[in-house]
């Protein structure tokens, strides 16, 4: 009787399990990461707080507008000293608009973002599929995505991202130089539902070269149901 019960259980298990799901490829993980962290279009309000060596902190509030894969515009709303400053990315081109200069100046992607521990590309170039080749592996309850830069516009030479197997949300990241030196560590936390998009609402980026420093980027709002006009992403629109 016991044998029959075991056989039945096994048979039901085999029949209901169906074919085993294949592990996601690196491309699948990159695609998912890009979908979660850089939706195609959005209008967001974010805050960045830079914690410095001396224990003090500096905060910035900004509006972030994204269109398609390669159009970003950031307008600073706080503090008063940088109000009106803007960053624009169009493809591989990056400009900063300074209200007192009254014009846009070209920037490089790897420059630090407002002196914090994010760089410009961390914020303005969230498209790993375009900039990296990768491999994937498993680490406990997370997938590990290992990325290697395939062009000079990528913000780091090597990146490792851990994504939870259960919901594919990123939980942590490590960012390296070409020689393998660890530059930054990121923690993704405070998962929120932004009008249907469930994703981390906070990224803590730790500077591994100056370990007393870290920066936190948090999203106050994220509206993906927008389609900003292309004219918002042209050099001549900065300052308007």
């Amino acid at each position: 009787m016991k044998f029959l019960a075991k056989a039945l259980t096994l048979a039901v298990g085999v029949l209901t399990a169906g074919p085993a799901l294949a592990d996601p490829t690196a491309l699948d993980l990159m695609h998912k990461y890009d979908q979660i962290m850089g939706p195609e279009n959005f209008d967001a309000v974010t805050r960045m707080t830079a914690h410095r060596d001396d224990g003090t902190e500096r905060g910035y509030k900004m509006q972030v507008l994204k269109k398609g894969d390669d159009k970003f515009r950031i307008t600073f709303r706080e503090p008063a000293a940088v109000v009106g400053q803007e960053l624009l990315r169009q493809g591989d081109n990056l400009w900063v608009y300074m209200p007192n200069l009254k014009r846009g100046v070209r920037l490089a992607n790897r420059d630090s973002f407002q002196g914090g521990d994010f760089n410009n590309a961390d914020v303005l170039r969230v498209k790993y599929e375009a900039d990296y080749d990768g491999t994937s592996s498993a680490d406990g309850d997370a997938w590990v995505l290992e990325l290697k830069a395939k062009n000079s516009n990528a913000s780091y030479d090597k990146v490792k991202i851990w994504m939870k197997k259960a919901d594919m949300l990123p939980v942590k990241g490590e960012y390296y130089t070409a020689s393998g030196k660890l530059l930054r560590k990121a923690e993704f936390s405070d998962v929120k539902n932004f009008d249907g998009i469930v994703r981390p609402g906070k990224i803590t980026m730790r500077n591994m070269l100056a370990t007393q420093r870290w920066s936190v980027m948090s999203w106050e709002s994220l509206n993906t149901k927008v389609n900003p006009p292309a004219t918002k992403f042209v050099l001549d629109d900065l300052g308007k």
Binding site: P79, A80, G84, R106
Partner: protein, 515 residues
């Protein structure tokens, strides 16, 4: 007539291109639906989005300057104060009208005081002069910008008012900028003032077309113009109108080509910021980032003739000769010259780690003096001083009798720490900036070097960001006397360009509070 043809041609091109672009910009809602029905185009204003938005910010700046001016240099020191205080209250108000347009006002109220003037006494010794009124140091209201932009269509907008429209990528200097008050190469952020203009602009994804008509302010009171293009009807006693228009027209095409910003500009100026009449000029600029760290840029302005004042070499052979020549000793003798002059700026900016950056820019001033012309300029200055002493004339009377040595410029705009008025042809601007040094400090050093005689200015500055809303700065302007043997040799002495200036050094401290 020429003006009408020019306007008609430019306006026709812009409107016809805008009309061609129009089918792309169908009613915004329809475009959005075509892209994705689940999305809401940002042009469809949700009910909760305010139709009007208002933002304001600004700063209060206080600056104290002390310095030393030599009375023995060729340029008189009589109007250069040794102590100066400046307080600037700035307000910037931005009004948004949904996607229809916006208006912006950037105005400053500047209170200044200056003390301690020194000059050359009759005995040839440096002596203290009585504190006196100098126009540069009067309190002023400055409307840097006051304009409205109306979006005629998604791809065509109209700007009316006072605005600083800057197209060239040069950091310290912009030879292709003929419209605005000149900037201070030691701190380009100080110059926020623009010009009164009307602009039609057509921004496309990777290119833009702009047409600008700019009016010269012929007279203003407290920052408000009482005369634009023409002199006002009622002038104070002693002033006369030239009854001629003063304006500039410009057409500019911008394109993003191979990740390079390219601007092509066509100007036509009529007694705008110089003596040229109906003068066409061509400008070309480019900017590109190499290897993700090195930005390189260039600006070229081509023109025929020169509006600079040149000294007649025949008039500066002796004191008697210059007195006989009088005002004819100096003038715009090359105004109608058919020689091509190309002003050029070539520069590079390299970003180090930690956001430090160094930039180097070479400026070729095609209207600058060569060695002989600079020699004549120095001789004229020397003889003018002798003549003034002999006849007991003031510097204003000397200018009236012998002509003005420097070109008459336009609106100076915001108060600057340093005015760059190049006399010679070859200059180098070097700038080193290191922000976030020990988190809250920024070091900035600018060197302006005249390559003909190696004279120039060094301007180091340290800024401490005490709070996110408060900056304290201290800095200096130190004159580099240059190499006398490379300067003009007059009367057995070598004169360099920056060696002519009386100011040997200035130091300042300032506090800026943002709100």
């Amino acid at each position: 007539m020429r003006l009408q043809i020019w306007l008609a041609a430019c306006g026709g091109v812009l409107l016809s291109v805008a009309a061609q672009a129009e089918p792309v910009s169908e009613p915004a809602a329809a475009t959005a639906v075509a892209v994705d029905e689940s999305r809401v185009d940002i042009h469809e204003i949700p009910e909760e989005m305010p139709l009007l938005s208002v933002r304001s910010n600004g700063f209060l700046d206080m600056r104290w300057t002390g310095g030393y001016a030599s009375a023995a240099h060729l340029v008189p020191s009589n109007d250069i104060p040794h102590l100066q205080e400046l307080t600037e209250a700035n307000v910037q108000l931005k009004l948004g009208w949904a996607d229809k347009g916006q208006a912006l006002v950037d105005a400053s109220f500047v209170h200044q005081r200056a003390w301690m003037y020194w000059g050359l006494g009759n005995d040839g010794q440096r002596e203290r002069l009585a504190d006196h009124d100098v126009a540069t140091y009067r309190p002023a209201a400055i409307v840097s910008e006051a304009y409205g932009i109306y979006n005629l269509t998604e791809r065509l907008n109209l700007t009316l008012g006072k605005k600083r429209v800057l197209w060239g990528p040069g950091l310290a200097w912009n030879p292709t900028d003929l419209l605005n008050p000149a900037k201070d190469p030691t701190d380009p952020t100080l110059q926020r003032a623009g010009t009164w203009l009307a602009r039609l602009e057509m921004p496309m994804d990777n290119w833009s077309l702009s047409l600008v008509g700019a009016a010269k302010t012929t007279r203003q009171f407290s920052g408000i113009p009482s005369g634009l293009v023409w002199s006002p009807d009622n002038l104070p006693a002693g002033e006369t109108s030239d009854n001629r228009p003063h304006f500039a027209l410009a057409a500019r095409l911008y394109a993003l080509v191979a990740e390079t910003d390219v601007n092509a500009m066509l100007y036509m100026t009529q007694l705008y910021n110089d003596s040229f009449e109906y003068k066409p000029r061509l400008g070309l600029t480019a900017s590109h980032v190499f290897w993700n760290a090195l930005e390189m840029h260039g600006e070229v302005l081509g023109q025929l003739g020169s509006s600079r004042n040149y000294v007649d070499g025949e008039c500066v052979t002796s004191l008697g000769k210059i007195m006989a020549c009088g005002a004819k000793s100096i003038g715009t003798s090359q105004l109608s010259d058919s020689g091509v002059r190309v002003k050029t700026l070539l520069g590079a900016r390299y970003q180090f780690g930690e956001n430090a950056a160094i930039s180097a820019e070479y400026f070729y001033n095609a209207e600058g003096y060569d060695a002989d012309q600079f020699g004549n300029f120095v001789k004229a200055a020397t003889y003018r001083i002798e003549a003034a002493k002999l006849l007991g004339m003031s510097s204003a009377a000397v200018n009236q009798a012998f002509g003005s040595m420097m070109p008459t410029g336009g609106d100076p705009g915001s108060p600057q720490k340093f005015s760059f008025e190049p006399l010679r042809r070859h200059y180098l601007f070097l700038t080193y900036t290191h922000p976030q040094l020990a988190d809250d400090f920024t070091i900035n050093t600018v060197v302006i070097l005249g390559l003909a005689d190696l004279s120039g200015q060094v301007a180091p500055q340290l800024t401490w960001s005490v709070r996110s809303w408060c900056n304290l700065s201290a800095g200096a302007f130190i004159t580099l006397p240059g190499v006398a043997s490379r300067g003009a040799q007059v009367g057995g002495e070598g004169y360099t360009e920056y060696g002519l200036q009386p100011s040997l050094w200035r130091a300042f401290a300032s506090m800026r509070v943002f709100y």
